[in-house]
């Protein structure tokens, strides 16, 4: 326990050190500006968040009229597991494999399991922070509407804290196994990326499968379920506990008598602790062994000199080329940037597969007919906001780290700098958008009766979403130009522990909120959709142009004043 606390404190300090934070606030003016920017962005995001909470409340109220309260909690658990699959696996890879401190800790006379478990706790904390915003509203809404007793509230709080633990452990075991199995293959990094995508896809597919099995399919079944619901308010929790027994415990904690609630919570804690213990043994045996092998044989290949013909490139293309190669070759960069691009299409495919049945198809056909414009605008919005989720522009300078002197001392014009640095994210986004729109069109071919018209919509959406993403990318670049994270030892710091990535995420959501609000409450009421599309296109362009002018103006001053 002492060893665990020791290492945990060390890691905590490394990850979120308050002392360091205070010092920076006091002495670092740029850091203060960053924080202000961050707060400003958060405020801008507030409307979307309120909207989200509102949706949660609406869902609950609808569910309540149908006696579906238990389904609501199942949904929250589902969502939480989903988040863990989506983010947790990645976090585990990043923290366990791409972070240099494991290498530093292994020679020390501390049993590695303590250290590794404390690492796990850091990931758990991040997961918890995320849940605080996304999952907690579900529980609170449930608690308030169901008028829970005090002891049930306590149970609810403990359940909320414990829910991520076991799924995260399961994901952790799967991840470590994946990494161990792929330890000796050629092109290890590429195979791992594919393995990672397949695994996430598989897990989501499994989740979808459960969810579908779980909802009544035929009308008779519906009546049947409805009867059961009236008699048993925990019906869905009961059924879900077949797949995930922990749900039963949560059910007791939320809906049971005082004794049941106590027992439920107690057993939940006990099971979590047992899982943690087993996981620590697993890490000690399996992870450490694989990790040591991983770093035993760095394969250095030597190629002989062969004269090549020299190919001339424009400066911006030359910059983008190096950027691309580096993004592909550093595994943590590839996971962080191209990972998103591969996962979202996979998720889309899984979701579209799991939508089926004649009735649903008919429903979707009429839905699409009625809401065609809204749907395509939603796609534009989605693709635009995704631009902020791919941290390429936001880490353009940070990723250069200690090699930043190269680009800063070479005679590269600010125009070439900006063009070259935007080229990478723009091409990446272009590929991503084409994939997503193609998939959408394939899906629509099942339910739409005018596919050639859809094709035109798709092409227009592609162009508009790209144009609308430009301002986001330029702002991201500007944030990173103002205060890049250069002094890192380990590339994962540049993309994972970089405030700029968070800021750009916030900027993206704020931007998305503005787009949504302007459409839903203003444009939609007064303008035909063609005019709306033109407005978005033109304003995206004009905004991008002025932002470009703005960043270009002081580019060199910022370049000199970077450190």
């Amino acid at each position: 326990m002492k060893e665990f606390m020791l290492t945990f404190k060390l890691l905590l300090k490394q990850n979120l050190s308050l002392g360091y934070f205070k010092e920076r606030i006091k002495f670092d003016k740029k850091f203060r500006n960053m924080l202000l920017a961050m707060i400003f962005v958060l405020i801008l995001c507030l409307p979307s968040y309120i909207l989200l909470i509102n949706t949660v409340i609406n869902i609950f109220e609808t569910f309540q009229t149908l006696y579906l309260e238990s389904l609501f909690i199942v949904m929250a658990i589902f969502l939480s597991i989903f988040l863990i699959i989506f983010f947790g696996m990645f976090q585990i890879i990043a923290y366990f494999y791409f972070s240099s401190d494991v290498k530093l800790m292994t020679p020390l006379p501390i049993n590695p399991k303590y250290y590794l478990i404390s690492k796990f706790f850091i990931i758990y904390l991040w997961e918890l922070i995320l849940s605080l915003f996304v999952i907690l509203p579900f529980f609170i809404v449930y608690g308030v509407y169901q008028q829970l007793f005090i002891y049930q509230w306590v149970g609810l709080a403990i359940c909320f804290l414990l829910i991520p633990v076991i799924p995260l452990i399961i994901i952790g075991v799967l991840t470590v196994l994946l990494m161990n199995i792929t330890n000796f293959v050629k092109n290890k990094d590429a195979i791992r990326m594919i393995g990672y995508i397949i695994m996430i896809g598989g897990l989501l597919l499994f989740q979808m499968y459960i969810y579908r099995n779980f909802l009544p399919q035929s009308p008779e079944e519906q009546v049947n379920v409805f009867e059961k619901l009236i008699n048993n308010s925990s019906y869905f929790l009961d059924r879900f506990s077949v797949y995930y027994p922990i749900t039963k415990l949560i059910d007791y904690a939320l809906n049971g008598t005082a004794l049941e609630a106590f027992l439920g919570v107690f057993i939940f804690i006990l099971v979590s602790v047992i899982f943690l213990y087993l996981f620590s043994l697993f890490l000690e045996r399996v992870f450490v062994k694989g990790y040591l092998k991983e770093h035993a044989n760095p394969a250095i290949k030597k190629k002989k000199y062969q004269p090549k013909t020299y190919k001339k490139r424009s400066v911006s293309v030359a910059i983008a080329r190096i950027d691309f190669i580096t993004l592909l070759k550093v595994p943590i960069y590839a996971f962080n940037t191209f990972g998103v691009i591969l996962i979202l299409p996979v998720m889309f495919i899984i979701m579209s597969i799991s939508v089926g049945g004649n009735e649903t198809t008919e429903m979707l056909t009429s839905f699409y007919k009625n809401y065609k414009i809204d749907l395509w605008l939603a796609i534009i919005l989605f693709l635009t906001v995704t631009a902020s989720m791919i941290p390429i522009a936001a880490t353009s300078f940070s990723r250069e780290g200690k090699t930043n002197w190269i680009m800063r001392t070479l005679p590269i014009s600010s125009k070439d700098h900006i063009k070259g640095r935007l080229l990478t994210p723009v091409i990446t986004l272009l590929v991503f958008n084409v994939i997503m729109i193609t998939l959408t069109l394939i899906f629509l071919s099942k339910i739409s009766n005018n596919i050639s018209e859809d094709f035109i919509y798709g092409a227009i959406s592609l162009i508009i979403s790209l144009v609308l993403s430009l301002p986001i990318l330029i702002i991201n670049l500007y944030v990173d130009l103002k205060k890049p994270l250069l002094n890192w030892e380990n590339p994962q710091q540049a993309v994972k522990q970089n405030l700029n990535v968070l800021i750009s995420l916030g900027v993206g959501f704020a931007y998305g909120t503005i787009l949504f609000l302007s459409y839903n409450f203003v444009f939609k009421r007064f303008l035909p959709y063609q005019a709306i599309l033109i407005i978005y296109f033109v304003s995206g362009f004009v905004l991008a142009y002025y932002l470009y002018r703005f960043i270009k103006k002081d580019f060199y001053l910022n370049l000199i004043d970077m450190e």
């Binding site: 250095i300 290949k301 030597k302 190629k303 002989k304 000199y305 062969q306 004269p307 090549k308 020299y310 190919k311 001339k312 490139r313 424009s314 400066v315 030359a318 080329r321 190096i322 190669i325 580096t326 070759k329 550093v330 250069e400 780290g401 200690k402 090699t403 002197w405 190269i406 800063r408 001392t409 070479l410 005679p411 590269i412 014009s413 600010s414 060199y556 370049l559 000199i560 004043d561 970077m562 450190e563």
Partner: protein, 238 residues
């Protein structure tokens, strides 16, 4: 070629460079000599645009590097003391990139690169990834990159550190060659011997201040005949 006027830089309360002035003439190799922590790197960083001076003016080939940084950068190329380069590309990729940036004509590239690679014995490694290079190899690669740009003035921070004797010898030759057409070289070193062998003139800096400027003969005369240069250096910078 390079003119520094009353340059000053503080880190917090620490005065790292204190009101220094000197100039490097065309065709000359100028040594910036001083012990560790004297302020050499700080001065060079201000010249190449990695650090903002608190006071003073830097003219590179007649261009103010604060007012017109891009044009100023076209006048020089720079090799730092830490040899940090992009790790995930090959040495060849790096050199191509430099050629693209400085717009080196395609015909020049091949001939000049080949001869530089041969002279510095890097030919066999140039298609390998830079992450597999030793410190010395990176240093050589950076030097080739700086030379292929054929700048008016070459600025080097401690260029001899980490090179083997043969490479050091080659570098000295290359630097002299570079000055033949009226180009200049400005480099820092904490080793007197290096300065003695290659420099036309030196400035000796200590604790952020320039103590003396001139050819080593002139400096020797100024101090007095009997002493060895070593002693002079030690005395001046104690």
């Amino acid at each position: 070629m390079l003119e520094i006027k009353q340059l000053t830089k503080r880190y917090g309360s620490k005065l790292a460079v204190n009101n220094i002035s000197f100039s490097v003439k065309p065709g000359e190799i100028f040594g910036f000599l001083g012990p560790n922590g004297a302020g050499k790197t700080t001065t060079i960083k201000m010249i190449v645009g990695l650090l903002k001076p608190d006071l003073g003016e830097i003219m590179i080939n007649g261009i103010n590097n604060q007012l017109d940084p891009l044009r100023a950068k076209r006048q020089f190329s720079f090799v730092p003391d830490n040899s940090e380069i992009f790790e995930k590309i090959t040495g060849y990729d790096y050199l191509q990139f430099i050629c693209d940036v400085y717009k080196v004509p395609a015909t020049d590239r091949e001939v000049k690169l080949n001869s530089l690679l041969e002279k510095l014995v890097l030919k066999n490694d140039i298609n390998g990834y830079i992450s597999g290079y030793s410190h010395g190899m990176k240093q050589k690669l950076l030097l080739i990159g700086a030379l292929i740009a054929n700048p008016k003035i070459l600025i080097l921070d401690e260029p001899m550190v980490g090179l083997d004797p043969k490479a050091q010898h080659t570098v000295k030759e290359l630097l002299s060659e570079h000055c033949l057409n009226g180009n200049s070289v400005f480099f820092s070193t904490h080793v007197l011997e290096v300065a003695e062998k290659v420099c036309n003139r030196v400035a000796i800096i200590n604790k952020g201040e320039i103590i003396t400027i001139g050819s080593l003969d002139e400096i020797r005369k100024k101090i007095g005949k009997d002493e060895s240069l070593e002693n002079i250096f030690l005395e001046l910078t104690e």
